[in-house]
């Protein structure tokens, strides 16, 4: 990517390069706009007064006249439910991301070791699970009946803890590291675990940044496991809480109960939007920190090798 830029700035653009650039800027520009407009709509709707929303619907343009912080104020007036959902989500995301990156990199490293004769057999043992699976029903019964996931925080962490894809990304990345690192450390008497923790991990920053982002996104955005296993309102994750708020009738009941405000005065339409902002915000802010590692860390390789 960068090479291209350096090359091209030396000389004047030829006609065809110019046309590719114009086409690129137009098409990419349009697509990028389409990607961002819905976020803009949600944000301005969350700052619009309820009366305006009911009268005019969700706005296309922001207006000072109808500006209102009511929905955010109400969310913060009795923030217990939101704070609890934040707490659950942040805790599950932090623990889950750590465990998930640890498992993916450790497994990926072992399978990337060219001196380990069984690496292909094991790789296929993992990979096979993506080709065939028992489906939802046996999985659900296992989790509920035998592993006791109902209203158990473990039920939010374990299902997303190991991803074969992340492991394959780790394996591809680590196969690209020079084998001499492992070999010379072995001669110096270091064991495999020490080599992994002290030498390989520090060399794998782009990989770890990428995998952490994937894992954090999976945990932060999880509503599915919460829907399957959690019935206790105190353990809801943010996304599941939002899902319930979006179903209007349900939302009114929750808000009225938690804040003691009479039903008709609840700004339900703007609350739907402010809750969306509240549930999405933090994870989007993570992106700039990992962006520079992204292209390097994301090499998709084959299972064999």
């Amino acid at each position: 990517m960068t090479n291209q830029v350096v090359l091209n700035t030396h000389k004047r653009l030829s006609k065809d390069e110019l046309s590719v650039n114009i086409l690129g800027i137009v098409l990419i520009g349009i697509f990028a706009l389409i990607c961002v407009i819905p976020f803009y709509l949600i944000i301005i709707a969350s700052f619009t007064s309820e009366t305006s929303l009911i009268r005019n619907g969700y706005p296309l343009l922001p207006s000072f006249k109808d500006f209102s912080l009511d929905s955010y104020k109400l969310s913060l007036k009795n923030p217990v439910a939101i704070l609890k959902a934040y707490g659950t989500t942040i805790g599950v995301t932090a623990v889950g991301t750590f465990l998930s990156v640890f498992l993916a990199t450790m497994t990926g490293y072992v399978l990337s070791r060219k001196d380990f004769p069984w690496r292909n057999k094991f790789a296929f043992f993992y990979f096979f699970t993506t080709l065939f699976n028992g489906g939802l029903v046996p999985w659900y019964l296992l989790c509920v009946r035998y592993l006791n996931f109902k209203n158990n925080i473990v039920g939010l962490i374990l299902p997303l803890m190991f991803s074969v894809w992340n492991m394959i990304i780790a394996k591809s990345f680590m196969s690209g590291l020079p084998m001499e690192i492992t070999e010379s450390a072995k001669i110096d008497g270091a064991n495999d675990l020490v080599i992994f923790a002290r030498l390989i991990i520090p060399l794998s920053k782009p990989l770890i940044a990428t995998l952490s982002l994937f894992a954090a996104l999976a945990y932060w955005n999880d509503w599915y496991n919460c829907m399957l296993y959690i019935t206790d309102e105190n353990m809801f994750t943010l996304q599941y809480y939002l899902q319930r708020i979006l179903g209007s009738a349900e939302a009114m009941r929750i808000v009225a109960e938690k804040s003691g405000i009479a039903l008709p005065s609840i700004p339900i339409e703007s609350m739907k939007m402010s809750m969306t902002v509240i549930a999405t915000g933090p994870i989007v802010l993570l992106y700039p920190f990992v962006q520079r590692y992204f292209v390097k860390g994301l090499t998709i390789g084959a299972v064999k090798g």
Partner: protein, 310 residues
């Protein structure tokens, strides 16, 4: 697959690499519990599930679950929907992701490139729940922005939630919207890894920008594309549950165009509590997926072994 030069005896490997094996142990236990044990649970498809008997000790039921599944008459419809949506996702996905990666690579302005790439990545960061909120904001009949604009322009308000056919476009659009930013980075990573001298040599020989894209960039992206397409084909009978569940919100009216195998299995299990029949539907789906990926990988392997997945 095996490349062992001299056959290494079992015990010798065990003695030399016991620590590596120990490092594999946690994830091995994980896949055994969460993937291999549930695989044995497919026998439920042939059982009459009883709570006391659990997965393994409930009485056998022959093919009755499958019969019930066929009688329901929905299997054909959900299979067709799943298949057609995935074909659209795969083909349009390749087009949009590869296309935007190539264009991004050609764009000279570094700022524009970085900025638009970040914007394109935004949809990938949100959950399907948030996507559902966006759908509500835009397409709600009375309050949605879409109808706002349509009526302001003198058109007639459009009720998406009563128009099953329109969902085909909406669902495909949503999927492409959410996936393109991520997918284009995968292709962009592949482009960055290409030999730059090849492009310089082509320029010296007088190749135009379009010719370089056509004869150098696109062919070099084929291995990446094949991996992604094969992965897509392996899941061609699996619906993206979140996408359908959170946006359609279990509306019976919309089922003819929006019900996929996964939402159907989920309804059978959670809403109806019909464990035997949903297990049968699940098994049907798993077998379809397995057969498709086996055949397509074998075909690709025969044509070009480098492109095969395994």
């Amino acid at each position: 697959m095996e490349k062992t030069r001299t056959k290494t005896p079992f015990l010798k490997v065990l003695r030399r690499h016991w620590l590596l094996l120990l490092m594999l142990l946690p994830s091995l236990i994980y896949v055994i519990i969460f993937s291999y044990v549930p695989m044995t649970g497919i026998i439920l498809a042939f059982k009459k599930y009883q709570y006391a008997g659990g997965i393994y000790f409930s009485p056998w039921n022959g093919l009755n679950n499958f019969k019930a599944l066929l009688i329901s008459g929905k299997l054909g419809m959900v299979t067709r929907n799943t298949l057609l949506y995935n074909i659209a996702f795969i083909t349009l996905g390749v087009l949009f992701e590869m296309g935007s990666a190539i264009l991004l690579n050609e764009i000279i302005s570094k700022f524009f490139k970085k900025f638009t790439q970040s914007l394109m990545f935004l949809p990938y960061f949100i959950s399907w729940v948030v996507a559902g909120a966006i759908m509500y904001n835009i397409f709600n009949y009375e309050k949605g922005v879409f109808n706002h604009v349509i009526t302001a322009l003198g058109g007639k308000a459009f009720d998406l939630y009563n128009t099953p056919s329109a969902w085909i476009i909406v669902i495909i659009f949503l999927k492409i919207w959410k996936q393109t930013g991520y997918g284009s980075v995968v292709y962009l990573a592949a482009i960055t890894g290409l030999d730059q001298e090849m492009f310089e040599a082509a320029s010296i020989d007088g190749a135009s920008a379009w010719q370089k894209i056509r004869y150098l960039t696109i062919p070099s992206l084929m291995p990446t594309m094949m991996i992604l397409v094969l992965l897509g084909i392996g899941n061609i009978f699996r619906g993206d549950f979140g996408l359908f569940y959170q946006t359609v919100r279990s509306s019976a009216l919309l089922q003819p165009t929006t019900d996929v195998i996964d939402t159907y299995v989920f309804r059978l299990l959670i809403d109806n509590g019909d464990i035997g029949v949903s297990a049968a539907a699940s098994l049907y789906q798993s077998v379809l997926c397995f057969v498709t990926i086996m055949i397509s990988n074998a075909l690709v392997k025969k044509a070009n072994p480098d492109y095969a997945l395994y």
